[in-house]
């Protein structure tokens, strides 16, 4: 799938300084479905706020799962196809490079994710983007817990950015557009993300998560109220 391709489309200086780079995976795009903030599909905000791309495997996954992407699924497919980031080498090269490393950090084995996972290829592509100087910071957006753990481990030595969940993205939108987004609107969005991510089970676990993020949202709300 990944045959070494040249890095293309360098961004303008303005784009580089104003918009972080975001690698989003299929799980987050599914969990953010059917949420509208300021009359816009919340996933569209990914492309408004960030320079958002997907790896080739994620792009293929989205194409195969349009019917599970809710309303606006076709638009998301188009966005993903238009913003697919190829790896600069073959995927085997990346697998080999990452697998051979043994450091003081407890770095997770790539096999735990599956060698063909979109989350893994997203991470490799994110490393590429930084190495080639195309962006200054990566937001690795995924709701897959294994992928989050894998990325968090690797981000200890490989300081290219941060890991976000879909909950974090809603929180970001709220602080970014607090003047346009009501706290209740953001809380409703958070509830839906939480329900979508839960797949209808483990209420206790998702309750703790929802409660934690609603608490964070209240803090942001109070903070910004105090600032202005």
């Amino acid at each position: 799938m990944s045959q070494g391709r040249a890095i293309s489309n360098p961004l303008t200086f303005r784009q580089r300084v104003t918009r972080p780079f975001c690698m989003v995976d299929t799980s987050s795009l599914r969990h953010l479905q059917d949420i509208y903030i300021s009359h816009k599909d919340v996933r569209e905000w990914l492309w408004v706020e960030f320079h958002t791309e997907v790896s080739e495997i994620v792009s293929d996954e989205i194409s195969g799962q349009v019917s599970y992407m809710g309303q606006g699924g076709k638009l998301i497919r188009r966005r993903a196809q238009q913003n697919t980031r190829p790896l600069s080498g073959t995927i085997e090269q990346y697998h080999n490079a990452f697998s051979r490393i043994e450091t003081e950090f407890k770095i997770r084995n790539i096999e735990s994710l599956g060698r063909e996972s979109g989350e893994l290829q997203n991470f490799y592509a994110a490393v590429d983007v930084i190495r080639h100087g195309l962006h200054g910071h990566v937001i690795y957006l995924t709701d897959d817990e294994s992928a989050q753990a894998f990325a968090l481990d690797w981000l200890k030595p490989v300081r290219i950015g941060c890991v976000w969940s879909s909950h974090d993205f809603i929180l970001y939108l709220f602080i970014r557009h607090r003047s346009r987004i009501l706290a209740d609107e953001a809380k409703a969005a958070m509830r839906t993300v939480n329900a979508n991510a839960s797949s209808g089970s483990e209420a206790d676990k998702w309750l703790r998560k929802l409660s934690d993020y609603e608490n964070r949202l209240n803090i942001v709300d109070r903070l910004i109220s105090n600032l202005y």
Partner: protein, 396 residues
């Protein structure tokens, strides 16, 4: 599990069957309340108020998994388990219990149809007929239309009280439980179908009100009380906001529509003893209406021993023979053995107590400790040997 030549005969322990089941009984008359006196006191106080005053109650029961919330909803389903005898009390009680629907997209419909089926259409017809005879046909129609806030829905409920016309009543069953096609509606003379979650909660509130009664007399004896148990409310976490909002609003409106002689128990499982997550899920509007919080606290070791003793005592068979043998109340355990068994148990909930007691008794059966009636006992040494062996094998 040990394979053994020895059988499992609970009669040898003066017990009809295993009392340490980990799922609540289905049948309220078979449910027993053991120990947990403080918790029982909280419920007794709530029921005393419910039976003797008009105040509506929203009771939030919360606690960890296996703490006994669902058991309480089964146990208190029948009047014999409520405190009594009480003078100046409501005439009758109606207890309904349901769980938070597992299909959020149809939550209001599932809750509504479950409750109507528990009430039974025939019984609902009987109540409407009584009201029509008490206040007159026209008066009843007006009242029902006011209660539902809808001419069509009020009329549909009123029609349930029409004297037996089988075809009409079949159509009405269909209207309320599954819906009628637009071409069928004129046959009933009803302007519209049941459309929304809001409609369903209004119908429920009106029917509940009919069961409570429409008397103007201030005495509780002139009314009935409706108890509604909603179990597994933590599952509202799994509702998307578009599913959650109408459902939570419906519950709130249901409570607000029944200002007298209505009690709603909401069971909420939460491992941690903080309230904040509950408010996040139920919403501030509903939390503000809570009239009583009942926390299902884990019993301490002493309370745990008392719980086991009472549970065994309530299940004991051949009591005279049992007394003559001088066995402890905690038989098939010595009291010290129960204390040792529960000492390090975490969480020490009724479910985990049942589970640990069951495991140990089954092991003792398998090892041939109980071969004759009333002979053999689980003592502290036995408990220690089992748990030391288990620890040794875990560490090996």
């Amino acid at each position: 599990m040990l394979s053994s030549v020895y059988g499992t005969d609970w009669n040898l322990l003066f017990l009809p069957e295993d009392p340490f089941t980990v799922v609540p009984p289905m049948e309220p008359s078979q449910a027993k309340w053991a120990g947990l006196k403080k918790l029982k006191g909280e419920f007794d106080g709530t029921f005393r108020e419910a039976l003797t005053s008009s105040r509506n109650q929203l009771v939030l029961n919360w606690g960890p998994y296996g703490a006994g919330k669902t058991h309480a909803s089964v146990y208190f389903k029948i009047e014999q388990h409520m405190p009594g005898p009480i003078k100046e009390r409501v005439a009758q009680i109606y207890t309904l219990s349901t769980r938070t629907p597992k299909e959020p997209g149809q939550a209001a419909f599932l809750l509504y149809s479950d409750l109507l089926e528990q009430l039974q259409m025939e019984r609902i017809r009987g109540r409407i007929r009584t009201i029509r005879s008490e206040v007159g046909h026209d008066g009843a129609l007006e009242i029902l239309q006011n209660l539902t806030g809808s001419e069509a829905l009020g009329r549909a409920i009123w029609l349930l009280g029409d004297e037996e016309q089988e075809q009409l009543q079949q159509l009405l069953n269909q209207y309320f439980l599954s819906g009628l096609s637009p071409s069928q509606l004129p046959k009933l003379g009803i302007g519209r179908s049941i459309r929304s979650s809001n409609d369903r909660f209004r119908i429920l509130a009106t029917i509940f009100q009919c069961f409570i009664g429409l008397s103007q007399d201030p005495k509780p004896a002139s009314y009935n009380r409706v108890f509604l148990w909603l179990d597994e409310a933590e599952d509202l976490t799994l509702f998307r906001s578009r599913e959650y909002t109408p459902f939570a609003r419906g519950l709130r409106d249901l409570f607000d529509s029944l200002p007298r002689f209505f009690t709603m128990f909401v069971n909420f499982t939460l491992a941690e003893p903080r309230m904040e997550p509950i408010e996040v899920v139920l919403g501030k509007a509903l939390i503000d209406r809570v009239t009583k919080y009942i926390y299902f606290e884990e019993p301490n070791c002493e309370e745990g021993v008392e719980y086991v003793r009472e549970l065994l005592d309530q299940n004991r068979t051949d009591k005279d023979e049992f007394s003559s043998l001088g066995l402890p109340d905690t038989y098939p355990f010595t009291e010290d053995a129960v204390a040792t068994l529960l000492e390090d148990l975490s969480p020490r909930t009724p479910r985990s107590i049942h589970s640990r007691c069951h495991d140990l008794v089954m092991r003792a059966f398998a090892e041939g400790l109980f071969r004759e009636k009333g002979k053999g006992i689980i003592n502290t040494e036995y408990v220690n040997s089992v748990y030391r062996n288990r620890l040794d094998s875990e560490n090996a």
